[in-house]
């Protein structure tokens, strides 16, 4: 157990959802000084459901929603993963017991957090060994097929949390506005993994978007994924210096496929995998539709003081590799 580390990610639909859209971001950890992608190496992922429901949602209904959410991810044709329901349990989620548990928990103090995913990693390999999810029973929940007014959709929220369970971070593909009473409200988005949920009553997040599919495929790639998609790489610079934490979006000019990524070092370098071969538009923006902490550690020196900009060239993405490197120049606001 001492070789394990535990981290909790408050990665769920914040009630006062805010905007921000971005391409997928894989979670990672550092093992012996090198960066390792956070992922499961053993399939199927076995999970338990806490044998306790809430008003309007029984444990059995929670289990059915979890099966549907896992199925949404495992049916991505370019990703290789599976999960199996191991049974109901009296164990609570977010307990370091070696079992992956999903259930409801009351957290009145988290007034803008719908759900939480917490991980246990093998410190020597970075491999996931346990991941628990709870949905905050302080909110009203629904499992109605088309959603229910004034209630959050269990399956939509679980689909987001299970994305974290699989090793995905947040996406910035979304737009938000500040709410007078605090927090943010989503006006639009294009990723289940956007950190802020739609309003109550919607079930749109049951369906994965391009960015989610690219992210899970990059984490658990099939041979088809590696042989049928390409990537784009480049830098974001301001006065010649790299910009850290810039959000880069690639939009396929033919199909509209939209995927995002962040610059992840001081040189401003980024890489986006899982793109359909074709011609792409690149656009860069600062993180201004969600909290920087939803994407990076608090001590990260993320630059958000620059204007959104397009790359002046169209970018070719070939199969199985990357085209010419792109340098996107931005200016201060």
């Amino acid at each position: 157990m001492s070789a394990r580390i535990r981290l909790a990610l408050v990665l769920v639909a914040l009630v006062a959802a805010a905007p921000s859209v971005f391409a997928y971001l894989s979670l990672g950890t550092t093992v012996n000084g090198r960066s390792v992608q956070t992922r499961w190496t053993s399939m199927p992922i076995r999970y338990f459901i806490t044998n306790r429901g809430v008003a309007g949602v029984s444990a059995a209904q929670m289990q059915a929603a979890a099966v549907a959410s896992f199925s949404t991810w495992s049916q991505v044709p370019t990703a290789s993963l599976s999960a199996s329901f191991a049974g109901f349990t009296n164990a609570e989620p977010v307990r370091d017991d070696g079992a992956t548990v999903i259930g409801f928990q009351p957290h009145e103090e988290l007034e803008r957090t719908l759900g939480v995913t917490a991980f246990t990693l093998d410190r020597t390999t970075g491999t996931l060994v346990e991941a628990d999810i709870y949905l905050n029973s302080a909110f009203d929940w629904s499992v109605a097929a088309s959603g229910e007014a004034n209630k959050f959709d269990v399956q939509s929220t679980l689909t987001h949390e299970i994305g974290h369970l699989l090793g995905l971070g947040h996406s910035l593909l979304g737009e938000t506005v500040l709410r007078p009473e605090g927090g943010r409200r989503v006006t639009s988005k294009r990723s289940v993994m956007f950190p802020i949920a739609y309003l109550v009553g919607t079930t749109l997040d049951r369906t994965l978007q391009d960015d989610d599919i690219a992210g899970v495929s990059d984490t658990y790639p099939t041979g088809k994924f590696l042989n049928s998609t390409g990537s784009v790489a480049g830098r974001v610079t301001l006065d010649g210096a790299g910009v850290f934490g810039a959000h880069v979006i690639a939009v396929n000019t033919k199909t509209g496929q939209t995927v995002g990524a962040f610059t992840l070092n001081s040189q401003g370098q980024f890489t986006m995998d899982g793109l359909e071969p074709g011609i792409y538009v690149l656009r860069v923006e600062p993180i201004d539709d969600a909290d920087v902490g939803s994407f990076f550690n608090d001590d990260a020196k993320v630059d958000v003081n620059f204007r959104a900009a397009f790359y002046s060239k169209l970018v070719a993405v070939p199969v199985g590799g990357a085209g010419a490197s792109a340098e996107i120049k931005v200016v201060r606001k």
């Binding site: 000019t253 071969p277 923006e285 959104a308 900009a309 397009f310």
Partner: protein
């Protein structure tokens, strides 16, 4: 009865050539410059989704293929005094263009471009029409295989092209000797393209094209 009429019609084609005082050489090769006109490639919007499921534009794309210049060549094999088969090769260097505007976060409008290489290899038929002095007019149609490559040559995608039009050859000397300049060929046609680099949101692109070439007798 219908069959008999059809035979008569076909037979009449090669027979209706008394206006051509002389047949063109059996094999002709021409090499020249080509200009392919601009083509609109459609428009689109990069969208997010509102809570009610409706699309919300992030920015707009207006796409086109800029005019291109290049070289082309035809190898013509005469079947009858009026009819010839033709093999066509063409290389041009168009620019894919996308005007990006209406950004939700206020990014400046930009026209992003990507120069590409376009190759066409095709075959078709040429029918000579009535001559006017040293001008010999013709009409032609061809179908070709199309390959477009990105500027860095990492991405290629294929398609097809149909060309239909006509032109005139200006013949300034008699057909003496081989590999000698024989005439100048001018062509004007409509290019109908489908496929190639996946860029357009239109199923087919239409563009006018013009070429001028020097004809050699083989």
């Amino acid at each position: 009865m219908n069959r008999a009429r059809l035979l008569v019609f076909i037979a009449a084609l090669p027979a209706a050539t008394p206006a051509f005082a002389q047949s063109p050489p059996r094999l002709l090769l021409d090499v020249g410059a080509v200009v392919v006109g601009a083509a609109g490639a459609g428009s689109a919007t990069a969208n997010y989704t509102a809570p009610d499921g409706s699309p919300v534009p992030l920015f707009s794309l207006s796409k086109s293929v800029a005019p291109a210049i290049g070289v082309n060549t035809h190898l013509q094999i005469r079947l009858t005094p009026r009819v010839a088969l033709e093999v066509t090769g063409e290389w041009t260097r168009p620019n894919l263009r996308t005007k990006l505007s209406g950004d939700a976060d206020g990014a400046d409008n930009v026209t992003a471009t990507q120069p590409v290489h376009r190759f066409v290899l095709g075959g078709g038929a040429v029918v000579r029409l009535k001559p006017f002095g040293k001008w010999h007019t013709f009409t032609r149609a061809s179908v070709g295989w199309l390959r477009e490559l990105s500027d860095d040559l990492t991405l290629y995608q294929d398609g097809w092209v149909v060309q239909a039009g006509g032109g005139a050859n200006y013949q300034w000397q008699e057909k003496r000797g081989h590999l000698r300049p024989y005439a100048i060929r001018t062509d004007l046609w409509l290019d109908i393209r489908q496929g190639g680099l996946k860029f357009s949101t239109k199923p087919r692109l239409f563009a006018p094209a013009f070429s001028a070439a020097l004809i050699l007798k083989l």
